[in-house]
């Protein structure tokens, strides 16, 4: 300030000084203090909202753990369901059912999902309308409600063209179709993140397009693809609604098989059934089931997201 006002001759300098002084004066007046207060309140509200979100979601886990604690014991894993004796009831057939269901989903979804993603990213010419249609289709399918997939499973897989009946394989196929778009979208993202120079280098050395994809692009995209697959699988584990429609019966007391036609069960379906019974014992049992499911799911999701962040490559 002193040096500026020390140059009297120049009108422009005085003009600038006056302007700066006016701004400074305004900054020191009431106005910015009000801004400061408003800003602080705003910040506090944002923080509050985030806290509410995190606490609300954490409460789901904590409440299940607290409520289900009395029922958590080895019999939960070894005993079958029971309507008469909730203290002895468990989840064994449902757990085995879910494991089979998920094995089927993995076998179907990994090759189909990655294959579709490779086609869309590496081969499909985006100028062509059919490729754009496929793309839009996948994006929309990812948002179709899961119960609609249940209807599809009921009309197309259990009955109708495939006519498999109410068997575990039909449930598996339904869940696979449900999570397929998620896998495709994640795999595409991962493949797109591999820079073109890698492909060009490989092609320039004489590799064919498929050799380039198999030896260069896919290995580089693996962390992203694996993340997508794990997230999709964990979604499939927790999906309940479509299974209600394709025959996951609740009180199956024997261990299910893939093609056996005397019924199968799944963990979330049995949890849902226990929860909708009015007796407290069954609700405790349902909470214990939720704990088992959440432990598996949260571990899987954490691993998947850690994997993605860890190997997020900067080329």
């Amino acid at each position: 300030m002193a040096s500026l006002s020390g140059q009297p001759g120049s009108g422009r300098v005085r003009f600038a000084t006056d302007g700066a002084r006016a701004v400074t004066a305004e900054m020191l007046s009431e106005q910015p203090r009000r801004d400061l207060v408003k800003g602080t309140i705003f910040f506090a509200l944002l923080l509050l909202a985030l806290t509410v979100a995190l606490v609300g979601l954490a409460a789901i886990i904590i409440q299940a753990a607290v409520n289900g604690a009395p029922a958590i014991s080895p019999t939960l894993f070894t005993n079958g369901p029971s309507t008469i004796n909730p203290s002895e009831a468990g989840f064994r057939p449902a757990l085995i059912g879910t494991i089979y269901l998920i094995l089927g989903v993995i076998v179907l979804v990994v090759p189909l999902g990655v294959g579709a993603a490779v086609y869309l990213e590496e081969y499909g010419d985006r100028e062509k309308w059919w490729n754009r249609t496929i793309e839009l289709n996948v994006q929309n399918l990812a948002g179709v409600p899961s119960i609609i997939y249940g209807i599809l499973g009921l009309a197309f897989i259990v009955r109708g063209p495939l006519d498999l009946g109410f068997i575990l394989a039909a449930g598996s196929l339904t869940l696979a179709l449900l999570v397929l778009p998620t896998v495709i979208l994640a795999a595409r993202e991962a493949i797109r993140a591999v820079p073109p120079s890698i492909r060009e280098g490989s092609l320039a050395l004489g590799a064919t397009q498929w050799q380039t994809i198999r030896r260069q692009v896919l290995p580089a995209a693996i962390p992203g693809v694996v993340t997508g697959v794990i997230l999709a699988i964990s979604r499939a584990i927790g999906e309940t609604a479509p299974l209600l429609l394709v025959g996951a019966a609740t009180f199956v007391t024997f261990n299910p098989t893939f093609l056996g036609d005397n019924g199968y069960s799944a963990l979330p379906v049995l949890i849902f059934n226990y929860a909708s019974r009015p007796q407290d014992e069954f609700r405790v049992l349902a909470s214990a089931g939720v704990v088992v499911m959440l432990v598996v799911l949260l571990a899987m999701n954490s691993f998947a997201i850690w994997l993605r962040n860890r190997y997020e490559q900067q080329w």
């Binding site: 409460a59 609609i148 397009q209 927790g238 962040n309």
Partner: protein
């Protein structure tokens, strides 16, 4: 590569006498073509899935509409499809769906957007690096777990405090809404945060340079600049709320009431499908066809929402990426 080709490229004599090298691939590479075809089939499966969904919904819906006039279905105000005489007015369960979704959005939109602004504009990179993955992990909580939370925790908790929220304990559209809100908060927060972070830093710096406060930069510059992504996140969340089944099955009850009252018990479209389709209903009956007609309506609603959201996402990608 066949040896002949190498010679054709590598050992040419003086320019004039060199034979013109073949620029064709040395073999037809049938394997490459087969692989391409196989991969295209994988991609085509998604189109087949959509076709199968549409066909399997449409055929029974047409059967349904042959028996129930479309006007009665869409505008009737009584829903009792399994009674005799049956009423097929879909409005009560449509309003049930809208009601639970609306209450869910009312909870989730402010919380989700505020969380997104915090993560994108206020949080330090370190905080963000912790909270974003936590949100993503929590987004994976199965909805049946959230429904149980609503049924055996939220409902008994809220009933004594706000009796008008739970008129038919333990069922309540409003409580179902809160549970749905918990389900969609991570979606809104995560996608909105992504779209706000893709706003170029230059816009923020310019606003700061003009003397804007942090709050003004966030609300008047970044938020409007990211609006298409934010709208997309809201629409996607709305679509998820409309299609949610387990939460409403557990918490909203099963009485088709034509009301937006948060304390009332309602049946939603998804809950109707979920309860009715579990039994061994035989094909060809009107009850069986009703499931598909309601499914078709639900599919149409979410289709419109999804396509709108996809367009909005494309828009913000085009602008800043």
């Amino acid at each position: 590569m066949a040896t002949g080709d190498i010679r054709a490229f590598g050992t040419g004599g003086p320019a004039g006498r060199r034979p013109v090298p073949s620029l064709e691939a040395p073999s037809p590479r049938y394997g490459e073509k087969a692989i391409r075809g196989l991969l295209a089939l994988c991609a085509l499966l998604s189109v087949l899935t959509t076709t199968a969904i549409v066909v399997s919904l449409l055929l029974p819906t047409l059967d349904f509409l042959a028996e129930v006039p479309i006007g009665e279905f869409l505008f009737g105000t009584t829903w009792a499809p399994t009674f005799t005489p049956a009423d097929f007015g879909v409005l009560p369960i449509l309003v049930g769906t809208l009601s639970t979704s609306l209450w869910g959005m009312l909870v989730a939109v402010p919380i989700g957007l505020a969380s997104a602004i915090f993560l994108s504009e206020y949080a330090s990179p370190r905080t963000r690096k912790v909270i974003k993955p936590v949100l993503e992990v929590l987004a994976g909580i199965p909805t049946v777990a959230i429904g149980i939370f609503g049924l055996i925790f939220l409902s008994p908790l809220i009933e004594p405090i706000l009796p008008f929220m739970v008129k038919v304990p333990p069922f309540s559209a409003g409580i179902a809404g809160i549970a749905i809100g918990l389900m969609i908060v991570p979606i809104i927060a995560s996608i909105s945060d992504d779209s706000m972070r893709s706003v170029p830093q230059g816009l923020r710096e310019a606003a700061y340079g003009l003397g804007a406060t942090r709050m003004k930069v966030a609300t008047r510059v970044v938020f409007p600049a990211a609006i298409s992504g934010i709208i997309a996140s809201l629409v996607l969340a709305g679509s998820r709320a409309v299609g949610e089944t387990m939460i409403v099955l557990l918490v909203a009850g099963a009485s088709p009431n034509l009301t937006f009252d948060p304390g009332s018990s309602v049946q939603t479209m998804t809950a109707f499908i979920g309860t009715t389709a579990t039994g061994d209903i035989s094909t060809g009956t009107i009850t069986y066809d009703t499931i598909f007609a309601v499914g078709a309506l639900l599919f149409a609603i979410t289709l419109v929402l999804n396509l709108f959201a996809i367009r909005m996402v494309r828009k913000y990608r085009e602008v800043y990426e």
